[in-house]
Each structure stands twice: as C-alpha cells, then as structure tokens.
C-alpha cells in the first residue's frame, strides 16, 4: 500500500516535471532545426544549429545586446539590493508612525500598471538628459517596493538585542547595518538577487521607450525585433531565446538552495 502510494507520488511528480521541462527541450531542439521544420512540429534534434546561429549574427549583433543587458543588470541589481535592503532595515528597525504611513504609500503604488506612469516618466527622464542612456534603465528600477517589503519581513527575524549589543560596544548605526545586520541575511540577498535579476534581465517596456540607438539595444528588444519580420525564422528566434534564457537558468541553479531559505526568512 505504502509502496503504491509512493509510486503514485513519483509518477505524479515525474509527469509534472516533464510537462514543465518540455518547453525547454523544445526550445533547444528548435534551435537546431530549420524554421519550416519547427512549424511542422518536429521534436527531434536537427543539424542546423550553426546555420541558425550564423544567420542570427548576420542580421544583427546579438552579443552587443547580451553585453548591454548584462551591463545594465550587473550595475542595477546590486545597487537595487543595497538600496532596498537599507530601506527595509530602516522601516523595520527604526519604527515610526510617519514612516509606517510612508510604507503604505509604497505598497499602494506597487499596484499601478507601469503603462499608467510611462509618459510622465519618459518626459522627466528626457528633461534631465538621461534619454538613450543605460543609466535611465538602471535608475528607474532602483526602488522596488516588493524588494523593500521582502527585506523588511526578513529583518524581522534579526533580534533587536544584537543591535543593542553592538550599540553598547560603540558601533555606528551604519556600521551595524553592514557588519551585524547584513551578514546573516545571505540567503535573503540570494533570493532578492534572483528576483531582481529576472526582472531586470527580462525588462522590456521601459528600455524600449528610453533606449534609442542600436548600440544600446537590449536582449529583450532584440528578441522582439527578430520575431516581427514578414517572414519569421523560428530557427533564428530559438537560437536567440536559448542564448537569452541560459543565464537566468544558470543563476537559478547556482543559487536555488539560498533562494528557498531566503523566502523562508521572509515568511516567518
């Protein structure tokens, strides 16, 4: 009885995993096939990977796009993590009524669709001379309400006694944050990192509006651009998609252990 139950469990999980992984398999298979075979529904590897890859390179510079996205992400994510973790810490460890009200304002704005603030934001960024710079993409997402919320929840687990003890030892407030509060939060930062990384790596509408020149084009814009031709070449698209998705999967694989315990910290 027990064995059958276990077997059923595994069968259920196995089928679910296959369903979840199938698109990835298909994506890689597609990257090795001709467009016409992909639309005909082929499910096995072909020999066209290099041709597709070459065709992508000939139409546009995909590596420039990877480089741009990587640059933006590498600068933006750590900065956002620092700023949001500081804010989360500030809201949690220095309680005040005014700041709590402010926090509620933050939460409320989380629900506004980006499309609603896009035009004024575009205007503002243009007027301060940031249009068509990577910096315009970086600064717009520095304050992320979900991250602040997430860090605030996580800092709840940090005992106030530890902070008090450090104060008695004469540590400065800023020193306490960096030396006492941050180190035990490794997994929280890992979880936040995955969240922020995914968000920035796949960021689409805002970079589209603010980045103008070809040299600044990001991966998502590149993908969107090659998918809108009169003659759509799915082989080329899937090669690009594989290149674009690989980093997110690798990052998740390496950090997934921390990711789970990071959420754990926040959900206490």
């Amino acid at each position: 009885m027990r064995k059958i139950k276990l077997l059923l469990k595994h069968a259920f999980l196995m089928i679910s995993s296959l369903i979840c992984l199938f698109p990835f398999y298909w994506m890689v298979v597609g990257a090795t096939n001709l467009s016409k075979d992909i639309t005909k529904g082929t499910l096995w590897f072909g020999a066209e990977f290099m041709n597709n890859f070459r065709a992508v390179q000939e139409t546009a510079d995909i590596f420039q796009a990877v480089l741009n996205t990587a640059t933006i992400t590498i600068v933006q994510v750590p900065l956002a993590l620092l700023i949001c973790s500081m804010a989360g810490y500030g809201f949690e460890k220095y309680p005040s009524k005014t700041r709590n009200k402010l926090f509620n304002v933050f939460l409320l704005t989380m629900m506004i669709p980006f499309a609603a603030i896009m035009i004024p934001l575009f205007n503002f960024v243009f007027d301060v001379g940031l249009i068509d710079t990577k910096m315009s993409v970086i600064v717009a997402a520095l304050s992320n309400t979900f991250l602040i919320f997430f860090f605030r929840q996580s800092f709840k687990a940090l005992p106030n006694e530890m902070i008090e003890a450090a104060r008695i030892d004469g540590a400065s407030e800023i020193g306490i944050f960096f030396r006492i509060a941050m180190p035990p939060m490794k997994s929280t930062f890992a979880a936040g990192f995955i969240y922020a990384f995914m968000k920035e790596w796949n960021n689409y509408l805002w970079p589209l509006l603010t980045l103008q020149s070809s040299e600044n084009r990001t991966l998502t814009l590149f993908l969107s651009s090659i998918s809108s031709a009169y003659y759509v070449d799915y082989g080329q698209i899937l090669v690009s998609v594989v290149i674009a998705t690989l980093p997110t999967i690798l990052i998740f694989m390496t950090m997934q252990k921390h990711f789970v315990s990071g959420i754990l910290g926040a959900s206490k």
Partner: protein, 450 residues
C-alpha cells in the same frame, strides 16, 4: 534636529544627483542622434551643427526586409553623392515597438524622435490626424504622380502629402499548380475569377486531392475581408472619415463570402501566422491569398520548387470589384523637429524617387515591390522564377499594381479590424445574421471612437 535631518537627507540626494549628473554627460554623445524637438535638445543641436557629417536616424522593422532596403538605399545615395556628408543610421525594432516609441515621443511633445520613420499605410492616418504638426509634408519636393495613386491617397492629410511611398501590399493568389492540375484545373482557370468560382474550384480540389483549398488565420480574418473590401474600392469609412459599416454592401458581401468559404469547408483555419506558415510549407493547403512578401515563406521549402504559381486576386460579385487588391504595405515619413530637412529630403528624393537600379536591387534581394511606377521598367521585374515554374512573378504583381482601387483608410483601422472581426466571429458561429453583425460592429465602434 530638523537641520541635522535635512543635512542627512541632503547627503543622500547629493550622491544621487551626482549619479544623475554623471550620466547626463554621457548621454550627450549618444543622445544627440535622437534630435528631439523640445527643451533639452537645444544644446545637442548645436553640437550636431558643428559636426562635419549629418546623421540621419531611421526607424524601421524587419532586418531582412525594410531595414535591409534602407541600408541599400544609403549605399546607393553614397554612390550618387560621394560628397554628401550624411550618415544614415537604421535602427531596427519590431513594428509594434516602433509604434510604442513613436506614440510616446509624440505624446511627450515630439521628444526623441527619429528623422525618418517607417509607418504602415493602415496606421499613418491616426498619426497625421492627431500629430500632423510633427510630420514634415513633402508635396513641394516630390512629384507624387510618379507613384501608385492609391499609396499617395493614404498619406494625404489636409491637402498635404507626407512621406515617400514605399512597398506595395498588392495581393495575389499563390497556388499549388500541382494540386490544381490533379483536380483538373489549368492556370487559365484561376485567372480573373470571382470568389464564388474560387469556392467551386476549392470543393473540387478537396475532393480530388484531399487538400484544403486555402488557408487563413481563423482567429483574425481581417486581412482577408480587408483585401475583399479594397478590391471594390470600399472601406470601413468613406473619404470623409465617416463610418460606413451597416450601409456597406461590399463589406456585407465580404463577410458573406467568408462564411460561404468556411461553410464549404475549403479553408484550413490556423491559429496564427506561425501555424499558417507551417501549413504553406508542409503542403496542407493548395493556395494562399497574400501580398508579394509571402514569397519568402513559400520559398522556405525548397522541395516545393516548381510547384507554385501565382494568379490575380479573386473578385467579389459587386460591380465595382476588380481582380486586384492590397493588404498592408508601408511608407517612409519625415518627422519634423524644427531642423533643416534639406539633406533628408535630398536623400529620399535621389534614391526613392529616381533610382531605378535601386528598385531592381531591392526587388531581387529583398523581394520588395516598390510603388515608384517608372521602376517597373527595370529588368529585374522580367526575371523568370524557377520556383514558380518560370513565371515572371514580380511582373505579374507590377501589372496588378495600377489596378488597385484607392481608399482612404482613416484613423481607426485597428479598432475597426477588431470590431468587425468580433462581429464576424458570432456570424460565422451562426449566432447572428450578417446584418446584426454589421450593426454590432458599428455600435461598438461608435462607442469607441470619440
């Protein structure tokens, strides 16, 4: 206490504004090409003027089609004018993305716009209607009689013509000659037919070969009924922009024809363009009605070489309907940001309104059928294509081009597409009559268009 607090905040703000300032500087190098019209751009314009070469930025979609064409045009201009100090930069984004950028830039008061932008014929009127002051009219510079009249009609607003007409969306009936032969039909049997005849042929083709006569996007028939409508010079609205849906006999016949085709079971309904392309390539359809650019999809399957042919578009029973129509197509527009347009206009005129070799080049390499009428004298149009059994495919398209009836597309093409398509859906399901469908579409549109 307040003072200290302020001091602390100021430190934060200062470091922040330093980041901002740092980037502001770097933006001047890369931002100059945006050549925005309003505020912040004043100093960048000065910089551009002192530079030796003038940079012309172009927004276009499709790297293998429009973008490649514009790059070719730049090369031709260099050959024609080796001394001209211009550099043409083509920025490639998807069509939808370009519209987003354009709409945002225009809504922000003409900020950060390109010098030249590719815009679809169906969409241009909504831009001219709302933002004509940001577009630069070319009727003083360009001889529009040299272009297909129906293309010029589309870009005329308040008696001014904007833009340079580019590719034609002239439609044709691409068909599998082998399937039709099997069912007992020759090329002559498909030339200049009505849709009713098309349906009859279709039934026989399916009987004899088991293959569906034609293929369409089952979630969106708008491309098909637009093609039918324009073949009779009709549209969603009249030349004054007033909606003509309920009183539109041509639209009514178009919808009825689609229902007839569907009821006869001759349409293979696909969910979107990827499955439609798949159907063409794996031989599950005997024909497809589309513009010249469909050639690249068809040619993607080399095994079908020699099996395809092209005939004129079927017509409606309506007396005005001819065997020529149009779907899609776009043109180049010059954005007005207050700067001197001399170099830009000179470039467009020299290449797009004068160079026949250029048109032959893009026809051969990109399969782009231009709408500059003298270009059809070019040799490239007379090439026999083995893939189409030696047929002079592009000469055929060029011969239909002057026949395409002119219509004014108006500013609400996307809304109208959706509204009519939604109503057609209920009609095809048999839930409502065609009259009810038209009323439903018109009601919806009246509510939407204000």
């Amino acid at each position: 206490m307040k003072k200290r607090l302020g001091l602390l905040l100021a430190t934060g703000m200062l470091s922040f504004s330093m980041i901002l300032a740092g980037c502001g500087n770097s933006s001047k190098e890369s931002g100059a090409n945006g050549a925005g019209g309003a505020s912040g751009a004043a100093e960048t314009n000065d910089e551009a003027a002192t530079e030796e070469t003038q940079k012309i930025t172009v927004w276009a979609w499709d790297d293998n089609f429009n973008v490649a064409v514009m790059k070719t045009a730049a090369e031709y201009y260099k050959k024609l004018n080796p001394d001209a100090n211009v550099e043409i930069e083509v920025i490639s984004n998807s069509k939808e993305d370009i519209y987003k950028k354009l709409q945002t830039g225009l809504a922000s008061g003409g900020k950060s716009l390109p010098d030249i932008c590719l815009i679809e014929d169906y969409s241009i009127y909504q831009y001219l209607n709302s933002y004509s002051k940001y577009f630069y009219p070319l009727n003083d510079d360009v001889d529009y009689s040299q272009f297909s009249p129906y293309k010029v009609e589309v870009m005329t607003y308040n008696d001014k013509a904007y833009g340079i007409p580019f590719d034609a969306g002239v439609t044709g009936l691409f068909y599998r000659a082998d399937y039709l032969e099997q069912a007992g039909f020759t090329a002559a049997d498909l030339e200049d037919i009505t849709w009713d005849r098309f349906i009859e042929i279709g039934k026989q083709v399916e009987e004899q070969t088991g293959v569906k006569m034609t293929v369409a996007n089952g979630t969106n028939y708008s491309s098909l009924f637009r093609t039918m409508m324009q073949s009779a010079g009709a549209w969603y609205c009249d030349s004054n922009g007033e909606l003509t849906i309920t009183n539109n006999e041509v639209l009514k016949e178009s919808l009825e024809t689609i229902k007839k085709m569907r009821d006869a079971g001759i349409i293979l309904e696909c969910a979107d363009d990827s499955t439609l392309a798949g159907a063409i390539n794996d031989g599950t359809t005997a024909s497809v009605i589309n513009a010249a650019w469909r050639v690249s999809t068809i040619k993607a399957e080399p095994e079908q070489s020699g099996k395809w042919a092209v005939a004129s578009t079927p017509r409606l029973n309506n007396a005005n309907s001819v065997n020529a129509s149009n779907t899609g197509g776009s043109s180049w527009y010059v954005l007005d940001n207050g700067q001197d347009k001399g170099a830009i206009v000179d470039f467009l005129k020299a290449v797009y309104a004068g160079d026949i070799d250029f048109y032959s080049d893009i026809l051969v390499n990109q399969g782009a059928v231009g709408t500059y009428l003298p270009a059809q004298e070019g040799k490239a149009y007379q090439t026999e294509d083995e893939f189409f059994g030696g047929q002079k495919v592009f000469a055929e398209f060029a011969s239909w081009l002057p026949e395409v009836p002119s219509v004014m597309y108006g500013k609400n093409v996307p809304e109208s597409n959706t509204a009519v398509n939604t109503a057609l859906f209920s009609y095809l399901q048999g839930d409502i009559t065609v009259e009810e469908a038209l009323t439903q579409a018109e009601d919806q549109l009246k509510n939407q268009i204000q």
